[in-house]
């Protein structure tokens, strides 16, 4: 009975979607904010990557709220999972290939992650992508040798809190100048250089470190939960 009503619901949903499709005009949306931003973003913010300028300069508060959501999800996930019993058996070390591979990959992933974060305003990339790669870099040695405590939860919380505080304090600095919260400051520099676009690379660095440490802590929490074989 439940499956029959579910199939009926899905059929109705499909008919409604087909009806909506007749009326959507994808190429000419009425909101022209994107075209206006494309025309002025290069001079106003100095960033060559317009998506970065939208994420950090034009819609900075969205990024701040998204960091809050991620922080809440990681914190609740950690609370729900609970601690590991002290006398629970640990997994054995992984084989030779995984151990050597993890040792070789760790510095490479660190360099690639930091490169993507720091060049976020010039090429596609930025804080979120680089932060995910940094989280993978710090989690890989934990997979190879489950006994070591590479990710200490207190250090992770400290780093994450400091990065978030940096983001908010840079935003508050603009208010002391009389402008609005999260207005980009500092000199714009020339387009395409590494040190350009004012405070945008510093903001993205804070975002990248915060996201990376949060996700690494969450993965470590999940990995430490006892396996149910």
């Amino acid at each position: 009975m439940r499956r029959f009503t579910a199939a009926l619901f899905l059929l109705g949903l499909g008919v409604m979607i087909a009806a909506i499709y007749q009326h959507i005009d994808f190429s000419n949306t009425a909101v022209n904010a994107g075209q206006a931003i494309n025309a002025v973003a290069a001079e106003e913010t100095g960033a060559a990557n317009f998506v970065t300028s939208v994420v950090l300069a034009y819609r900075g508060i969205d990024t701040l709220l998204e960091l809050t959501i991620l922080f809440t999800a990681a914190m609740i996930g950690g609370m729900v999972l609970g601690r590991r019993r002290v006398d629970a058996p640990r997994d054995p070390d992984a084989g030779f290939i995984l151990r050597t591979g993890a040792d070789l990959l760790f510095p490479l992933l660190l360099v690639v992650g930091l490169y993507i974060i720091l060049h976020g305003h010039l090429t596609p990339g930025g804080g979120f992508q680089g932060g995910v790669i940094l989280a993978a870099a710090f989690f890989l040695p934990l997979l190879a040798r489950p006994g070591i405590t590479l990710i200490d939860q207190r250090v992770v919380s400290l780093v994450e809190g400091l990065a978030g505080a940096t983001f908010i304090s840079i935003g508050l600095l603009a208010m002391f100048d009389g402008k609005e919260f999260l207005t980009p400051l500092l000199d714009k520099g020339e387009l395409g250089a590494l040190i350009s676009a004012g405070t945008l690379p510093i903001l993205y660095l804070a975002v990248g470190i915060k996201v990376g440490s949060e996700l690494a802590g969450l993965l470590a929490h999940l990995a430490e939960a006892e396996a149910l074989d």
Partner: protein, 80 residues
Amino acid sequence: MEVVVLVVVIVMLLSAVAVLLFKDFLAALAAMSVVSLGLSFLFVVVRAPDVAMTEAAIGAGLSSLLFALALRRLGLWRGQ
């Protein structure tokens, strides 16, 4: 160009159906990674390299890792 997009979309939709039909959860996880990969390709087609990089790093990397760790904890790792 449109033939390539059509082929990728068909593979992606078939994998999405396969995620719900596989009995073994490890196979469903692999099909989910294929969906993320196809999605990343489609994001490049609509001229969005930033979003494509994010989807590739998160969908095919972090999300699969999260699922694998949770499956091991739940005891569903070794097949039914």
